[in-house]
């Protein structure tokens, strides 16, 4: 018999979408009880460590592990000999030749930190000692560390690619050369966008366990993309997907650094196998975190524009050179994104830009938050201000003249449906008091500047499909399980997706329990990146909730001799659509489903594939995303011309997010992104010398802290994206994109100094002021 339904679930969040529902994990977080892979302690667990190359470029002559194997307490050592020596990479579908990394190298090492072997021992000391006892003979090769040096003929070749160029992306439309000649004003700029690092608070950590008799693996990983990790493990270990289970627990931040399988994930599994099935935990030190995971691509961004006197943008040309480091990772797609974002923001028909993803013997560049958009945001938005100044036009007016509009198709075939860019600009202008401030505060050494940006909110750039799935299982007692493959890394997707599922099902939020990111239990999901989760995974959760609802209504309709199309479930009640008359409570309906007569299990399923067209990376054409988000960001600064210190007084970010599923979470993402944007503008600069990271710690690589951040204003613009779940687009990284430019533009307004190379440091300001005075 079905259990007596309770009404304990009805709470203030009966219609949860649009409400700031507190995080599901909140209580676990504030009591310290939420478990991360970092906290996993298992019986007989071994400590694993990676053996890494101390040289940026060398041939491996020999690896002798005998002394290490003899050390008491060492339970397993693996090298390339223990592997199938299959390469892996993150852009396999579109760029197969960029699959270039071996989990454990045996021939050549290409950056300081490149992995050759791994050990598992009873404790950390023994593991460290074992690493010291592994004898590796190297033949040191000359290395190359600067982008422009690496592409010169004759430079040391890192892979089998011409002039160390992994990928060339030409993006060509129209006839920019002809249009450039018709321009009244032409400007050429070169920008340097430095290297930042995701630096999540929880370092990369994983626990691998190999069931030696059944040959099944379980990997607990602090991952943003457990399914991608599984895919790569299956490939490199030559196993079936189904024999590998990747479990994501709570993740202490990712920011793009935890999007792929790393050699440590591979090694943990293999070590466990060799150690007879004992679990092996590998946790990176902060230094390893900075040097051997993934970093932002440093980019030389050259752009040239031709405009008419009246401000019409005629043509854009340029070149982007990205420092990719030793392996490809997400490089090609990051590079593509760095160029093609322009089409989402500005109306342009004539365009030629070539991107080069260059190999260097530096640590590996990947898909850090912003995905090429931070670099292009700084370069393009700084450049546009210069262009406006050339023709004596106000930067707002110039942008309003050239921005994309709703319901348009760009020259590269991106379909922009809802587009709140204009509204965002207007909103930010009013909120910031732009008209009273721009050009009027020089005596106070204050200035105000704008940057605009767009982002893909439901993109497909990696695989044949990037659909997301969801299962909504309604239990007899009225609780509801949402199974989603989406990976909550702190952005709140568990909560938001639960809100969507609850709303779709028609019930209170408190019924929902979310299970996420377990490849064996939850449906497939590509992962948390490219700000896709709300749109893609959200739609899957919505469809799952709807499906479950229909299954319930089917029983209700049958039992009451009604037409299912006349019924709906809303706010915990089964109602007639026509007049909202209540037929019965949700709990009553459920009782019916689980009754002796019907005994129907309610298991809703959802699958969502964003409506995109494949990108042709040779031409740059393709509607890469099912939805696009837009923003305008304004920064007000004050410069101390004695010390060169730029203080950001206030930031306004007006954001077209479609609809806020959870306004508090959206603001949290915006504020976090703004802080990261400030970090990128002023002090996040990972520096290398001869391939070695000079500031691989929090003392040398500064991230934003509590002191000195500006007041942040999140202005949400809701354009109600038709295709989005309840009109939502999403919010993940976009607020990070235009910050550096908005600040650089504000600095120019304040003191007439234009910084073309980030970060904006006091010494650069002082130097520029001195030059200005001469």
């Amino acid at each position: 018999m079905a259990l007596t339904p309770k009404s304990k679930f009805v709470d203030q969040y009966v219609d949860p979408v649009g409400k700031s529902v507190p995080r599901i994990e909140g209580r676990g977080i504030v009591t310290g009880q939420l478990k991360y892979v970092f906290d996993v302690q298992m019986a007989n667990m071994l400590v694993g460590k990676m053996l890494r190359s101390p040289h940026p470029h060398a041939r491996i002559i020999s690896i002798d592990t005998s002394k290490a194997e003899a050390l008491p307490g060492v339970k397993a050592i693996v090298t390339a000999q223990d592997t199938h020596q299959i390469k892996f990479g993150s852009n396999e579908y579109f760029f197969p030749h960029t699959v270039d990394q071996m989990a454990l190298e045996s021939l050549k090492v290409r950056y300081i930190g490149d992995e050759l072997a791994a050990v598992a021992a009873v404790d950390e000391e023994t593991a460290d000692e074992a690493l010291r006892l592994i004898d590796v003979k190297y033949e040191i090769l000359p290395g190359v560390f600067e982008i422009e040096e690496a592409i010169k003929p004759g430079a040391p070749q890192i892979h089998e690619s011409l002039n160390n160029i992994a990928v060339i992306l030409p993006v060509n439309f129209g006839n920019p050369e002809r249009l450039m000649k018709e321009a009244d004003s032409v400007r050429e700029s070169r920008f340097w966008c430095p290297v930042a690092h995701p630096s999540p608070m929880e370092p990369h950590v994983c626990v691998g366990q190999w069931e030696t008799f059944t040959n099944k693996i379980t990997l607990w990983s602090s991952s943003q993309a457990p399914f991608k990790c599984r895919e790569a493990l299956a490939k490199t270990l030559k196993m079936d997907l189904n024999d590998i289970r990747v479990i994501k627990m709570a993740v202490g931040g990712g920011f793009g650094g935890k999007l792929e399988m790393l050699p440590m994930d591979f090694a943990a599994c293999l070590l466990s196998k060799k150690a007879g099935g004992l679990p092996v935990k590998i946790c990176l030190t902060r230094e390893e975190e900075f040097t051997t995971t993934r970093r932002k691509h440093g980019m030389i961004y050259k752009v040239k524009t031709g405009v008419k006197k009246d401000g019409t943008l005629l043509a854009i040309t340029g070149e982007v050179l990205a420092d990719g480091g030793a392996y490809c990772s997400y490089g090609p797609t990051v590079l593509a994104a760095a160029m093609m974002r322009i089409f989402m923001v500005y109306k342009i028909q004539h365009f030629r830009m070539t991107g080069y993803r260059v190999y260097t013997n530096n640590p590996i560049s990947g898909a850090m938050r912003g995905f090429g958009g931070v670099q292009s945001g700084f370069a393009i938005e700084s450049h546009m201000d210069l262009v406006a100044k050339d023709i004596g036009m106000d930067p707002i007016e110039f942008r309003l003249k050239n921005i994309t509009e709703p319901n348009t198709v760009t020259v590269n075939k991106m379909i922009l449906t809802t587009n709140g860019l204009k509204e965002c600009i207007e909103k930010a202008v009013i909120a910031s008091g732009w008209n009273q401030k721009r050009g009027k505060q020089k005596h106070l050494k204050r200035g105000i500047g704008i940057g605009i940006a767009a982002d893909v909110m439901g993109s497909k750039m990696y695989k044949s499909h990037e659909s997301a799935g969801a299962i909504v299982k309604v239990e007899e007692d009225g609780s509801v399980y949402l199974f989603t493959g989406a990976a909550d890394t702190g952005q709140g997707s568990n909560t938001a997706l639960s809100q969507i599922a609850a709303q779709a099902l028609g019930v209170s939020f408190s019924r929902i329990k979310c299970k996420a990111g377990d490849t064996e239990i939850t449906p497939f999901d590509t992962g948390s990146f490219a700000s896709r989760v709300t749109f893609i995974s959200g739609n899957a959760a919505l469809l799952g909730g709807k499906d479950a609802k229909l299954q319930i209504l089917e029983i209700v309709a049958k039992d009451n001799n009604l037409n299912i199309d006349d019924l709906d479930i809303r706010a915990e009640k089964v109602i007639f659509r026509k007049d909202n008359r209540v037929l019965m409570s949700f709990d009553k309906a459920l009782e019916l489903c689980y009754s002796f007569k019907y005994g129907k299990q309610i298991i809703g399923r959802g699958s969502y594939n964003p409506k995109t067209t494949p990108i042709d990376f040779r031409s740059g054409e393709g509607n890469v995303s099912g939805s696009y988000g837009f923003e305008a960001q304004i920064a007000e600064v004050e410069v101390d011309t004695d010390t060169g210190v730029v203080k950001v007084l206030e930031l306004w970010d007006a954001h077209d997010i479609g609809k806020a599923i959870n306004p508090q979470s959206v603001e949290g993402q915006i504020e976090g992104s703004l802080a990261m944007g400030i970090g990128y503008t002023f002090y996040e600069d990972l520096r290398f010398k001869n391939g070695r990271v000079l500031n691989a710690n929090f003392a040398g690589y500064r991230v934003p802290r509590s002191i000195g951040l500006p007041k942040m204003n999140s202005l949400l613009v809701e354009t109600d994206e038709l295709e989005g779940p309840f009109g939502a687009k999403g919010m993940g990284e976009a607020a990070l994109l235009p910050t550096a430019a908005a600040i650089a533009n504000a600095v120019e307004d304040a003191i007439g100094v234009r910084i073309m190379e980030l970060p904006i440091t006091p010494d650069k300001i002082i130097k520029a002021l001195k030059e200005q005075a001469m």
């Binding site: 404790d123 950390e124 000391e125 460290d128 010291r132 030190t285 004695d642 010390t643 060169g644 210190v645 002023f682 002090y683 003392a699 040398g700 500064r702 802290r705 000195g708 440091t761 006091p762 010494d763 002082i766 130097k767």
Partner: protein
């Protein structure tokens, strides 16, 4: 384990601590631990041996506290930075100690780090050296025989912050009415590695400067005085241009003309601004 095996010694009195300081071999003094334990962890990860004996001053009650009696301020070695910050100080130039404390590292470190550790840790760039020089403080050291040595901080630093005896406290006299200014520059606004700390103390009568003491920490050498600049200022009077004029009297070695343009610029900006601040405070 994050640290190598060690033996922890926990004396209860100053004399016991002073004796152990002399007698223990292969030992380090544990005050706040923010430097020592941090570096011991780092050395261990590199496979380097660290001190076998750790002499902790945590339980020596008579090494804690800030007292003001008569005209003497006494700050004992184990006083935590935040405790000094919270201690009421007499009105006047001694309040500069609060300013110095606020500019040290981060909050939990300020709760743990000690005045003694900051002065004796043998890192050149710590904050307290410059201010103790400027305030004409006296550093007190205790030997195992109970005998005390009293050393001026500038002499202590000239000896590369080495001492045979245990540092116990500083005393600062408040004779006369003085003015102080303190400037601390970081490498960028957000990189907490001090490039420079300047502390200027002077007595002013009828606008004229007397008994000027300047403590400078340029980040690469131990804190030191600047006799040339002091001499110039002792012949000068407060004026809006005094800061600018003072810049013509900088000793290259102290202001390190080999350092970057920005660092030199900040030396000049900081010094000028500190002198101007005092100048503007008016006559006494």
């Amino acid at each position: 384990m994050l640290l190598n095996p060690l033996t922890l010694h926990l004396p209860k009195t100053r004399l016991e601590a002073a004796r152990l300081y002399k007698e223990l071999e292969d030992s380090k003094v544990l005050a706040g631990g923010t430097f020592l334990l941090n570096s011991m962890k780092l050395l261990k990860t590199k496979g380097t041996k660290t001190a076998r004996n750790v002499l902790s001053l945590a339980k020596v009650e008579d090494l804690k506290g800030v007292t003001f009696q008569g005209d003497t301020l006494t700050i004992k070695a184990m006083t935590r930075i935040n405790d000094l910050l919270a201690s009421p100080l007499p009105d006047g130039h001694l309040k500069i100690l609060h300013t110095v404390c606020k500019n040290i590292s981060t909050n939990p470190i300020r709760n743990m780090a000690t005045v003694g550790g900051n002065l004796t840790c043998r890192y050149t760039w710590t904050e307290m050296g410059a201010v103790m020089i400027a305030l004409d403080a006296k550093m007190h050291f205790l030997g195992p025989d109970g005998k005390e040595d009293i050393i001026a901080p500038e002499d202590f630093f000239k000896n590369a912050a080495r001492s045979e005896k245990l540092f116990t406290h500083v005393t600062i006299k408040t004779q006369g009415v003085a003015r102080t200014a303190y400037r601390r520059v970081k490498k960028t606004v957000h990189v907490d590695i001090p490039l420079l700390a300047i502390c200027v103390k002077t007595e002013i009568k009828d606008k004229k400067w007397y008994n000027t003491r300047i403590g400078i920490n340029n980040g690469s050498a131990f804190a030191q005085r600047d006799p040339v600049l002091e001499e110039f200022l002792n012949k000068s009077s407060s004026s809006p241009d005094l800061g600018k004029e003072a810049l013509n009297h900088l000793t290259n070695t102290i202001y390190d003309t080999r350092s970057s343009d920005y660092k030199q610029h900040m030396f000049r900006v900081s010094l000028k601004s500190a002198i101007e601040e005092i100048s503007q405070k008016g006559t006494l």
